[in-house]
């Protein structure tokens, strides 16, 4: 099928961070040095070539950007300083905006002002809401443990209604985007349709890659993988604690070792990983930190803020400073909510879903192709 070229796609990607891709003369060094590049998924050369030629639909259907972990080896070896690693990063941003049907992702990636404005807006609404209805008897000076918020909420505490509701909306958004990703990469192209068996056979890859990120460990440098894994596991630990053990988490002022110790460990992990990454980006010490998109800064700063305020309100509550703890808690939530509402479905967070999905889809595609080939061979033999 003839692919229509859209000259100028490279220019469109500039705002997503692909600043040097035009310099590439397709030598393929990047793909030769990448440990993950393996036929039929040859990258970064192939997606970069599609980008240069403006083959938009081929790019949309590419899984390759997600198979890259941005270790930066390709950028270091590139003879033209065309920053292939950064191009892959910008392609992930662009793909995120493509998968997202609301257009918000596109808006945020193209305008950091819009993203900051949206974050501030959600933060203000959240703070106002909690200040208005969030505290027992409307008294912010009073701390009432797990029942402190949304007191009308029944046995779990009202705040649970809120965060489960939010989780539901996020899940719907994320799943819709994931479905679009599936459509672009597997569904749309008749040649790429795979039988159900292929999907089932590869299913185990989803949790495997989600929890271990073991492909990242194959990259030339190991430290980025460790940092990334610590950050991700800490984040997931915190998410599980909050979603399922909020009552115990919020109890106090005594310390509940069963939840508070894992919580503090996770918070420490988050803080350490965030600070390492922030420092790296400031100093540009690793190749993958040589270039930072505005969305990278927003992501890290938000995470730092949320972790810091979370730990602070915990400490303040233990210290019996109810008013200060409650104010900090509102400030914490004013960070958490926009982070979850905006970053998970529309921003950088979304890659926690897209990357394992891409690894999964890639295997499905390969499995289906192999099955098709053997079927043809069998037919030929018969």
């Amino acid at each position: 099928m003839t692919a229509v070229m859209k000259p100028g796609l490279m220019d469109d990607l500039r705002v997503y961070g692909a600043a040097d891709v035009a310099k590439c003369f397709n030598c393929g060094t990047c793909s030769a040095v990448c440990v993950h590049s393996e036929a039929p998924y040859v990258f970064p050369r192939k997606p970069i070539h599609y980008l240069q030629l403006g083959l938009e639909s081929k790019l949309e259907g590419s899984l390759e950007p997600w198979l890259c972990y941005a270790c930066g080896e390709c950028s270091e070896q590139c003879p033209k300083k065309a920053e292939p690693g950064e191009t892959m990063m910008s392609l992930r941003r662009w793909l995120t905006s493509r998968y997202d049907f609301t257009g918000l992702s596109r808006l945020f990636y193209r305008s950091w002002r819009a993203e900051v404005a949206a974050i501030v807006l959600v933060a203000l609404v959240t703070a106002a809401g909690f200040l208005a209805v969030g505290f027992s008897a409307g008294d912010i000076r009073h701390y009432d443990g797990p029942h402190a918020f949304l007191p009308a909420g029944g046995w779990t505490g009202g705040v649970h209604l809120f965060d489960w509701g939010m989780a539901g909306v996020l899940l719907v958004l994320l799943l819709t985007n994931a479905a679009r990703m599936w459509w672009f990469t597997l569904g749309r192209d008749r040649d790429r349709r795979a039988p159900l068996s292929s999907y089932l056979a590869a299913l185990y890859l989803l949790p495997l890659h989600f929890f271990t990120q073991r492909n990242y460990a194959q990259c030339e440098r190991k430290r980025p993988w460790v940092t990334h894994l610590v950050l991700m596991l800490s984040y997931v630990t915190m998410l599980v604690l909050i979603m399922f053990f909020l009552r115990d988490m919020a109890s106090g002022p005594r310390v509940d070792w069963r939840v508070h110790v894992p919580g503090l460990v996770a918070a420490t992990g988050l803080l350490a990983a965030v600070i390492i990454n922030l420092r790296g980006r400031l100093r540009r010490s690793w190749p993958q930190h040589a270039h930072s998109h505005e969305s990278d800064w927003i992501f890290l700063i938000l995470l730092l803020y949320v972790t810091f305020t979370g730990v602070l309100q915990f400490l303040l509550h233990r210290a019996g400073l109810d008013l200060a703890a409650n104010v900090t808690y509102v400030a914490h939530l004013a960070g958490v909510v926009p982070m979850l509402v905006l970053e998970v479905p529309f921003g950088k967070w979304s890659h926690l879903a897209y990357r394992p999905l891409a690894l999964y889809f890639a295997r499905v595609r390969r499995h289906a192709a192999a099955a098709a080939t053997s079927a043809v061979e069998e037919a030929r033999a018969a």
Partner: protein
Amino acid sequence: MSAAPRKIGVYVCQCGGNISDYVDVNAVVAAVEHEPGVTVAKTAMFTCSDATQQEIVQDARELGLDGLVVASCSPKLHTYTFRDVARRAGMNPFQYTQVNIREQCSWTHTDDHAGATAKAVRLVRAGINRTRLTEPLEPIVVETTPKSLVVGGGIAGLRAALGLAEVGLAVFLVEKEARLGGWVAGFGDMFPHGRSGAELIAALEAKVRAHPAITVFTNAELTAKSGSFGNYRVTVAVRGERSETIQLVVGSIVVATGFDTYQPAEGEFGYGLDGVVTLPEFKRLLDGTTGPLQYHGRPVETVAYIYCVGSRQSEDAGTGHTYCSRYCCTAAVHAAVKAAVIPAKPHQVHFYRDMRTYGKYELLYAEALATGSVFVKYPDEEPPAVSRDDATGRLTVTARDRLCGGDEVALQADLVVLVTGMVPRANDDLTKALKLPVGTSGFYNEIHPKLRPVETVVDGAYICGACQGPRTSAESVASSLAAVTQSAAVLKRGTAALDPLVAAVDPAACAWCGACETTCPYDAISRVAADGKEIATIARTACKGCGGCVPVCPSGAIDLQGYRDVQVRAMIDGMLEAVTP
């Protein structure tokens, strides 16, 4: 045959195994050492080595040799080497014979050692037989005219004229067109310096016009050449209100007639469709553009370039344009860099086979990439196709993308630029008048691409610039200065020495029938009166020693010095004689 017996030295080369692995060189020596006239016969590891050359010289002096046979490689390689050895050994250089037992024996008969050895014996014997009948010959020395004629007033010709004048030679510059400057005069900014071709030519022309030693003829063509090396008589026809014919005598002729651009056929890559142009046409459009790019009043947002149009064509196409035109990749990339800085910068997509922006022009390629040009490599066997939608007027280029699995891609473009190459000029009359050698692609041929890059088989006629083959203007000028040097080397000395291996007429036997005159491809034979009859005479400086006149002479009155009939017959006899193993 001379009365005194000859003393011939025979040296059979092993060529370090190249010969001796297949030819039994000792057997060859044994077979010929008792031939009449052979005084010494031996083998050597490398006859061309300094040590063996010394040995030959020493043998010659000790044994009083007066003839030399070296059986080694092709005469193309070492004729002059061993002529010099003969001279140093006190022999006449023309009493030496080179026998080729490498290219003609060992390398060709690797599967038949005995056969190769027998053949070598026959060839060496033939060489001895020729040498036995040699006579001492002296080079032909001619006085030369310190004037030069330059044909073609483009950048190469202008620079050559100026260079020749600067070394103190009188120069006639002949240009076919009404104005000087050729192609370059019509160019705007040129790579790599970014200066305008028109300005370059204007400066050069002013210098040429102002130089007192240079006479410029425009609207003029060289129509005939006679005479011989060092003293050619040329006829120049000048058109104009009063057409006239001018006769000039010159010592050398520098041919700088340049190239033509390839003109695509109707329909070739869509040529003929509105919006499909050649590179020179696009360059003119670009040179005249200051605002946003427009073509026929329509804005040009996307430009597609298709490379190798008229170059590197398949031999099966039969066009002769199998060569790479060398300059076009760089010229197209340079145009793209220029187009990238005009307002409303267009998208530019290059469909290429191989990018050959060699040397420092690589930087231009990098610049084109950096300014957003996109490059799509198409397969040799499946060039892009161009079509036009009559309703929208948009052009579509469809190509296979070699760098991504050969998938088909399509580009909508407002302008398609066919990156056309260089083709030889149709200059048949000049080629005939000068008897210049033309290569398979139609460009003029030099003698040796490395060692004699501007000399031709016509002594004193030099070629330079794009008439020799596609090249950039910088390379053209470099070769034109090489032609200046070669001209000066001959003409400033005042005399020139030529090989005496030319035809000679026996006045007693000749009865002038004219057969030789019509046969001679070099116009070296004419009729003279001598002793009350008319006979043929050879202009020894014009004769190339091709021997064409010898067999057509009904009375056997012509012989070729160094290859007289008796010598050739003796060689044949030597080859036919049985070889006893």
